[in-house]
C-alpha cells in the first residue's frame, strides 16, 4: 500500500526523530493502527468511555501542575507530582500544535502502578486515540489508567 506524504511523515515522527529522542512507539512491534485498535478495544471491554479517561488524566495533570512541584494525593493511595522541564514539544501528528514538556508522575502505592502524564500524551489520546506504544516511557496503558483512577464502566 502506498502511503501519502503526510502518513510517511507521521510514521517518521513516531519513531525516534527530531521530535522525540525516544519516539512514541517504544518497543512495540504493532503498527499504529493496531495499537489504537487494541487500546480502544480494551477501553470498550472495560466499559469506560475515552472521554472519562481523558478527563481523569487532565484533572490529575492540572492538579499536580498547580502545586508547583509538591506531591499531592489525588485519590486514596494515589499520588501525583509535577516535574517542570524547559521547552515545548510538537505533536508527531501534523499541524497538531505544541505542548509543554512538563510531566506528571502518578503513583498508585496500593497496586504498585505508575503513569507519566504529559499534555502531549493527553492530546494524543483525546484527538487521535493513540495511547503510545508498549515500552514507551509515556504510554498511558488503558488498563493501568483505569485501575489507578478507579474508573467505573459508563461513568
Amino acid at each position: 500500500m502506498k502511503l501519502s506524504p503526510e502518513e510517511q511523515r507521521l510514521i517518521h515522527n513516531l519513531k525516534s526523530s527530531k521530535f522525540s529522542k525516544e519516539g512514541f512507539l517504544g518497543t512495540d512491534s504493532r503498527s499504529l493502527e493496531e495499537i489504537i485498535t487494541d487500546d480502544l478495544r480494551t477501553l470498550g471491554k472495560a466499559g469506560v468511555p475515552k472521554e472519562l479517561l481523558v478527563q481523569a488524566l487532565k484533572d490529575a495533570y492540572q492538579k499536580a501542575r498547580n502545586t508547583f512541584g509538591a506531591e499531592i494525593e489525588i485519590k486514596k493511595n494515589v499520588k501525583a507530582v509535577f516535574h517542570e522541564s524547559m521547552g515545548r514539544i510538537p505533536s508527531p501528528f501534523c499541524k497538531d500544535g505544541l505542548f509543554e514538556k512538563g510531566e506528571v508522575v502518578v503513583t498508585d502505592s496500593a497496586n504498585n502502578l505508575s503513569l507519566i502524564i504529559t499534555s502531549l500524551g493527553i492530546n494524543l489520546i483525546e484527538k487521535h486515540d493513540f495511547f503510545q506504544g508498549r515500552g514507551c516511557r509515556f504510554r498511558i496503558d488503558p488498563v493501568v489508567a483505569i485501575k489507578i483512577f478507579k474508573l467505573l464502566p459508563g461513568r
Partner: protein, 372 residues
C-alpha cells in the same frame, strides 16, 4: 581448475562493483559541488545594518553564527526548540514540515521562520531584534560548582575569550553542553545571577531536571577547571526605568535573575521599594535565605518573604506557609501601583499573573522569565 576460474570471476566482479561504486560516489560529490553550488550569498540583516557574505547551502542559523550573530537555540539546530525564530523578509524557501507546528498564523503573516530550517541558497533579507547583534560567543573556565540545594548548583565561570561581558542584570546566557553517553551537544538557557559590575565572570544556577540532557551533563560530567562555551547576553527580563514598587516572585532556580538584579540595584544605590516572595516546598529547598535576610537588614527598601508549601506542620519553620500564590495574595491585596517580576515554572507564572492582575496590576506591568 573450475574452482580457480570461479574465484577469478568472483574477484573480477567484486572489483568491478567496487570500482563502479567508487566512480559513482566521486561523480555524486562532483555533481553536488557543481550543481548544488550556490556560490556566495548575501544575508542582509535589519535593512542593511549588517551585510554578510556567506557560502550558500548552509542553514541561516549556522551562517549567522559563523558571522558572530548568535540567535538563541536550545536544540542546536534540530528544529525542536523553536527558539531561533527570525523574520525572513526575502529569499526564504517554503516553510518546511519541521517548522509547521511551531508557527502561528500571526507569525506566518509576519514571515517568521525557524532560522535553523531556512537554507541560504540565494541572497536573503532578515530582521532580528537589535539586541541580538550584541550577543557574543564566549569561552570560559568553570571556577566552582557549588551545591545550593540537593538539586540546584551554582556555577561560577571565569571568562577566557572574550575576557569581559557587558549585560543588564536579569538576562540569560545559552550554555552549551558537551557530547556524552551518545547525547549530542545541546544549548540551554540559564539566567545570570552575577552582577554586571563583575565583567570577568558569570554565575548561573542550574536545577537538575530528570533526564535533562544539559543538566545531567552539568551535574555528572562538568568538572571544576573545565572549559565551557556559552553565548549571550540574551533576553528582555530586566528592571524597567520607572519608580513603581517592585514585587519579585520566584521559585527554585528562578532565584538566579532576581538575585542578580537585587545585588545590582543595591550596588547602584537603589531607592525603589521591593518585596521578594520566594516559593519552595520545604526548608531543604531554600537557599540564600541568610544573604537575603542580611540584605533586608542592611537596606530600608527591601523585604524578603520566603514561603513553604509542603513544610511539615510540626517543624521549626517560623516563616510564611502555603502556595506562593496564596502568600502573595495575603501580603499584597492591592497591586495596582506595583510592577511584578516573575521567574519560575510556567504553572507558577500563570498562577501568579492571575493573582497579581486580580489584585489590580495591569498585565503590561508584569514581566516574567518563563521556563518554556
Amino acid at each position: 581448475m573450475a574452482i580457480g576460474s570461479i574465484l577469478v570471476s568472483v574477484g573480477i566482479s567484486v572489483g568491478f562493483l567496487l570500482c563502479t561504486g567508487l566512480i559513482l560516489a566521486l561523480l555524486l560529490i562532483l555533481a553536488e559541488k557543481k550543481i548544488l553550488n550556490y556560490g556566495t550569498c548575501c544575508i542582509d540583516v535589519n535593512e542593511g545594518e549588517k551585510k554578510l557574505q556567506v557560502p550558500g547551502g548552509g542553514s541561516l542559523l549556522s551562517s549567522l553564527a559563523e558571522n558572530e550573530i548568535f540567535i538563541p537555540s536550545a536544540c542546536g539546530g534540530r528544529g525542536t526548540c523553536a527558539y531561533c525564530k527570525v523574520q525572513v523578509i526575502e529569499g526564504g524557501s517554503m516553510i518546511s514540515p519541521v517548522e509547521e507546528p511551531y508557527l502561528g498564523p500571526e507569525e506566518r503573516k509576519n514571515q517568521v521562520r525557524l532560522s535553523c530550517q531556512v537554507k541560504v541558497r540565494k541572497d536573503i533579507k532578515i530582521r532580528v531584534p537589535k539586541e541580538l547583534l550584541s550577543v557574543k560567543k564566549y569561552r570560559g573556565k568553570l571556577l566552582s560548582k557549588r551545591p545550593l540545594t540537593y538539586d540546584i548548583v551554582e556555577l561560577r565561570i571565569e571568562l577566557l575569550e572574550p575576557k569581559t561581558i557587558d549585560f543588564v542584570a536579569g538576562l540569560y546566557v545559552q550554555l552549551e553542553s558537551e557530547e556524552y553517553d551518545g547525547h549530542d551537544r545541546v544549548m540551554r538557557a540559564y539566567s545570570m545571577s552575577s552582577t554586571p559590575s563583575d565583567k570577568n565572570h558569570i554565575e548561573l544556577m542550574v536545577r537538575k531536571v530528570p533526564n535533562g540532557i544539559c543538566t545531567t551533563w552539568v551535574f555528572e560530567h562538568l568538572k571544576e577547571g573545565q572549559e565551557v562555551v556559552f553565548s549571550g547576553p540574551h533576553g528582555k527580563f530586566h528592571l524597567s526605568n520607572t519608580d513603581a514598587e517592585i514585587i519579585f516572585i520566584a521559585g527554585g532556580s528562578g532565584m538566579a535573575p532576581i538575585w542578580g538584579i537585587l545585588r545590582d540595584i543595591k550596588e547602584k544605590g537603589n531607592t525603589r521599594k521591593a518585596t521578594y516572595f520566594f516559593g519552595a516546598l520545604t526548608q531543604k529547598d531554600l537557599f540564600f535565605v541568610d544573604e537575603l535576610t542580611k540584605l533586608q537588614q542592611e537596606v530600608s527598601w527591601f523585604k524578603f518573604i520566603p514561603a513553604l508549601s509542603n513544610e511539615p506542620a510540626n517543624s521549626d519553620w517560623k516563616g510564611a506557609r502555603g502556595l506562593i500564590t496564596d502568600v502573595v495574595a495575603r501580603y499584597m491585596p492591592d497591586c495596582s501601583k506595583n510592577e511584578g517580576y516573575l521567574c519560575g515554572s510556567p504553572g507558577m507564572i500563570d498562577a501568579c499573573i492571575k493573582v497579581l492582575t486580580k489584585a489590580g496590576m495591569t498585565e503590561d506591568r508584569v514581566f516574567y522569565d518563563k521556563f518554556v
